[in-house]
Symmetry: C2
Subunit: 276 residues, 2 copies
């Protein structure tokens, strides 16, 4: 593993590291914030999955998350959103290929060779992190924005017991019924829609729910509401009788100004769940 | 004035606006955060001057300042760092020309035509802001990072009574004795070093000091310490018996991870001064 940079930040260290991913068949870069406490003992960790077009860097520099993670003694992981590099399949569209992994294991060419973001985030990267840094494997939580909110919710529901809590900012909540989902699932997973349900938070909510704490924030002035379909997730949560909170925030859009406005509350929420 | 964007942010609005600058002879873009209070009455304003290579956008997206400004009911102004555009003189170096205005009025060609950042920040932009937004002209404070810290300190000391308080993150503290200064002052102001002293915070401190509250933060692991010369400013502050605080922060570098780590304390500091 290669250290790209390490910056002092709120008494801890904001690092950026690169490693060879066997699962994805390329080098991958991730950000990791370690609070001061990590110098003395392992700390709990909050995963932050990013949205379309993002790299490891967007949330790391724009969400204002480190202040709150430092206050609560949490580590933050900022993975990239897809495999990367010249040898990795791509598409001219911003919402397919590099920067748009959608947190699935692709089964269709040309994507199947590298696009295994589900396994990367749920298996390989956790092993890299737990082996290399002072993190508590049994105290993990997950959040994400947009496509990353979809990833966070899908993983939290598919891997019961892994995450104490899950939250999301403006998640792609019902991708099997949206152009942010149908296009990508067709490309990555094929036309058989039966394989898609495992990656749709609203369907997963109806079928499995989540045993743990759950918080959703959605901006009421989000320019992508038709693609995100928050109403499907809100309906599913209520129909499931899922304990948790769904908040529609008046005036907020899809930007990091929205994320940063509420990241403090999300991190406090996860810290409380991780302290149980 | 043209509205480029307005995003809900911490209960207020983060706006980006463009206007035709008569002083600079080009269109200029600035960011303005207005807290919720500005919907009901004018609010005090904190200027944030940015560093080399920055635009209006860097601090606006990476400093995490809005959370604290909202908590204290302050507006934040994020100006650009130089005139811009195809018709504006430039240089291939990152530290001269566009992105590197150094907050002076250039008197030498080819810079004199557009590079009048002193007048823009101290005269034209304030008039634009006071005419267009709910801001209190008699409650202003100023801060900045690196080249912007130099600008903030220079303006605060040259314009007594304008700013209730001044702070800086890793300011270029002694440009007349640094390659971050001598090169640019030679280009913009000419070889006569007598004209440079009005733009050197350490010299201004010795000569004028600042009547108001003053706070300096400098990272001890800053990669540009030799160019910033914080020791000159610390010496001048002590020699002047200037009331204020100079903090050397162990481990921190020159990045926005440093700025964001302490921006909350700076904004609280300015809010307290503005409440006097």
């Amino acid at each position: 593993m290669e250290t790209i940079s390490e910056n002092a930040c709120f008494g801890g260290v904001q690092g950026v590291y690169r490693h060879a991913s066997a699962v994805l068949g390329c080098d991958m870069t991730f950000g990791l914030f370690l609070p001061a406490e990590a110098r003395r003992h392992p700390v709990p960790v909050l995963w932050y999955l990013s949205g379309l077009t993002c790299t490891h860097e967007n949330a790391m520099t724009k969400a204002g998350a480190q202040a709150h993670a430092a206050a609560h003694g949490l580590a933050l992981v900022f993975p990239d959103t897809s495999p990367r590099g010249d040898g990795v399949a791509d598409d001219d569209a911003f919402d397919l290929g590099q920067g748009a992994g959608f947190y699935v294991n692709a089964t269709r060419d040309p994507w199947a060779k590298n696009y295994r973001m589900w396994d990367y985030i749920t298996d390989e990267l956790p092993r890299v992190l737990m082996a290399g840094f002072a993190l508590e494997e049994d105290r993990q939580a997950i959040t994400g924005h947009s496509m990353g909110g979809h990833g966070a919710l899908s993983m939290a529901m598919q891997l019961p017991g892994r995450f104490a809590s899950v939250s999301a900012f403006a998640p792609i909540a019902n991708p099997t019924a949206s152009d942010w989902g149908r296009k990508q699932f067709t490309a990555y997973l094929g036309a058989d829609e039966g394989t898609w349900a495992a990656h749709d938070s609203s369907l997963l909510m109806l079928e499995h729910g989540f045993r743990g704490d759950l918080l959703i924030d959605q901006g009421a002035s989000d320019q992508f509401l038709d693609l995100l379909r928050p109403e499907a997730l809100a309906h599913a949560m209520a129909a499931r009788r899922q304990s948790g909170t769904f908040r529609m925030q008046a005036g907020y859009d899809h930007s990091y100004f929205f994320v940063s406005s509420f990241i403090g509350e999300h991190i406090a929420f996860h810290a409380k769940a991780l302290a149980k």
